[in-house]
């Protein structure tokens, strides 16, 4: 396929940035520095990276409770993300949102979301705005296997086809909604099998192969930009961590986890890039070192930032209008 070396290196960099951010968040959570819940994206990096590498800053995404990867892939700054998960005033949401509610309208990130299945109608609405304003921008909706069974997801897909909206539904099938395995929660083997019901293309992919994701998402996004309507892409993947940090994972075996770690999207892509001569071992080390420094800087920015003042509790609820 037609993909530049620069693009490949960029994707490799983004995947590593997501992984290192997540692993540091995991450590900070274990150290008691992060309040609330965190749901980590480690293991699923190829999906967000492959999809978002096709997007412009003016395109929109909706994300999920497991949103850090989507945000980084859409251009989110790890400094402001780290500050937000730490609950600091300098975070993306001034400490009002936390891990599950990071958003940045300027980057087209319409928000991580704590409600499973809330994103699809929002993404369809963003796509409606793109269509209404005669742009060729698109919206991408990331959602999980859990959300694939919610009514909102189906309502959004139906309306998206009825109105031929420029939206791409990206199902991240990591096989589990907390402990509930898709074997028990779905009556068809693939989420994308349902695409036929909404007269849209449905594609099933190896979600740990970033090049495959990039290519399939590229086709779907191209289709959406051309006014040909929505698509559903299902990426089969796996989360290396529990549903949330601290999850004892009693519902899956170590063998299963090990098997999926063998298919870890980052080493896989790295071998491929080494094989293609796009990267050298020295270069990979250099990239990783530079991301490591970036994450360390983000952490010290977050740690040294102030918490919001209690007086800020009532700020930013309503937009003032002079009518």
């Amino acid at each position: 396929m037609d993909i530049s070396k620069e693009k490949m290196v960029e994707m490799y960099t983004i995947m590593n940035r997501i992984r290192m951010f997540e692993m540091r968040v995991s450590e900070l959570f274990a150290a008691g520095k992060i309040p609330g819940f965190v749901h980590l994206y480690a293991g699923e990096e190829a999906v967000a990276t492959g999809v978002c590498s096709n997007l412009r800053i003016s395109d929109f995404i909706t994300s999920t409770h497991r949103g850090h990867g989507h945000l980084i892939a859409k251009g989110g700054d790890v400094k402001f993300m780290m500050a937000e998960v730490l609950g600091k005033r300098t975070g993306y949401c001034k400490g009002k949102g936390g891990s599950m509610h990071i958003a940045d309208r300027d980057l087209g990130i319409l928000g991580a979301n704590g409600i499973v299945g809330a994103g699809p109608p929002l993404a369809a609405g963003a796509a409606l705005a793109c269509q209404y304003q005669d742009t060729d921008n698109v919206a991408v909706c990331f959602f999980g296997d859990g959300a694939s069974n919610q009514g909102t997801t189906h309502e959004a897909m139906n309306l998206a086809t009825c109105w031929k909206l420029p939206v791409v539904f990206v199902a991240e099938n990591n096989m589990y909604g907390i402990s509930s395995c898709t074997i028990n929660s779905m009556c068809v083997p693939n989420i994308a099998d349902r695409a036929g019901a909404y007269d849209m293309p449905g594609i099933v992919l190896d979600g740990n192969d970033v090049m495959a994701v990039y290519e399939a998402a590229g086709e779907a996004i191209k289709r959406a930009r051309a006014g040909q309507g929505p698509s559903l892409i299902e990426c089969k993947t796996y989360r290396h961590r529990g549903h949330f940090e601290g999850d004892p994972c009693v519902y899956r075996s170590k063998e299963e986890l090990d098997e999926w770690k063998e298919k870890d999207p980052i080493p896989r892509f790295e071998s491929k890039l080494l094989e293609l001569g796009v990267l050298t071992p020295e270069k990979t080390k250099e990239i990783k070192g530079s991301i490591q420094a970036q994450i360390a800087e983000a952490e010290s920015f977050g740690e040294s930032s102030p918490y919001p003042d209690p007086s800020e509790i009532t700020f930013d609820l309503y937009t003032e209008v002079a009518s």
Binding site: K96, L122, E155, D316, Y318
Partner: protein
Amino acid sequence: MPAMTFAQALNDAHKIEMQRDPNIYVAGEDVGVYGGIFGVTSGLLEQFGAKRVKDTPITESAIIGTAVGAASCGLRPVVELMFIDFIGVSMDQLFNQAAKMKYMFGGKAKIPMVLRATCGAGIGAAAQHSQCLEAWFMHIPGLKVVMPSTPADAKGLLISSIRDDNPVVFLEHKILYALEGEVPSGEYTIPLGKAAIKREGKDLTIVATAQAVHTALSAAEQLAGEGISAEVLDPRTLNPLDEESILESVRKTHRVVIVHEAVKFAGPGAEIAALIAEKAFDRLDAPILRVAAPFVPVPFSPPLEKEFVPSVEKVVKAAKTVMES
């Protein structure tokens, strides 16, 4: 000033605003070809076309959800939920998404949308097409809640709601659609959060909303015949609530009756009564009384439905009770 019905006044507001701002679109079930089940969006499809006036499937979550998404990306949706009772299947998109986005994203979101819906009993529509649920929405930080009682207020408040940069729940009592009244022409606005004194009086204040305003006015007329001067105050907007106008009236009359069609328990009147108790307790000469629906779903059979809705007789009785204590 031309006379028009409440429904026509709302229609007029839509047309004026849609002409002014191309980013406004209307969507909902039967809002286009049919013109809205109560006629509020009549003629909009013909005038503005299918891009701006969207008939939707029966898909309330997607109607509201797409509105929230579109509003966050620069459009100004005015969507119709045929009956407010249908909010049950789409509430997440309103209260967890639209209402919270600005706050939980640290101020960096703007959701300029209006959710219009009909509410209220009186036509035998029974338990799932007749409720007054304004207290639900009052309880959600981030929303504004508007409930007009006259054609002129309906127009002025709808235009202001459409121009507001926050999600607004705009509740239209179905009994009012045919009510006629004089309505200022052109771009007439009424600020959200400003109550109206619908009848001046000095002996007691009757705070009432929507259809209950007319019940209160009839009661006030009857009370006047018995030498009691009742002031009727319509908050018009329940959030923001015009606290000062309510307190000012109470400081003048020292007696209060609150009338609404939502059930009495934890209804909107509870908040208004608490406000008065907290801020004007020492100006009260009698306990605050509420005349509101009993704590039951809206019943179907005509005598039961009539019993459910606050009546003039009940308001008069409550007024006399506060006058006697």
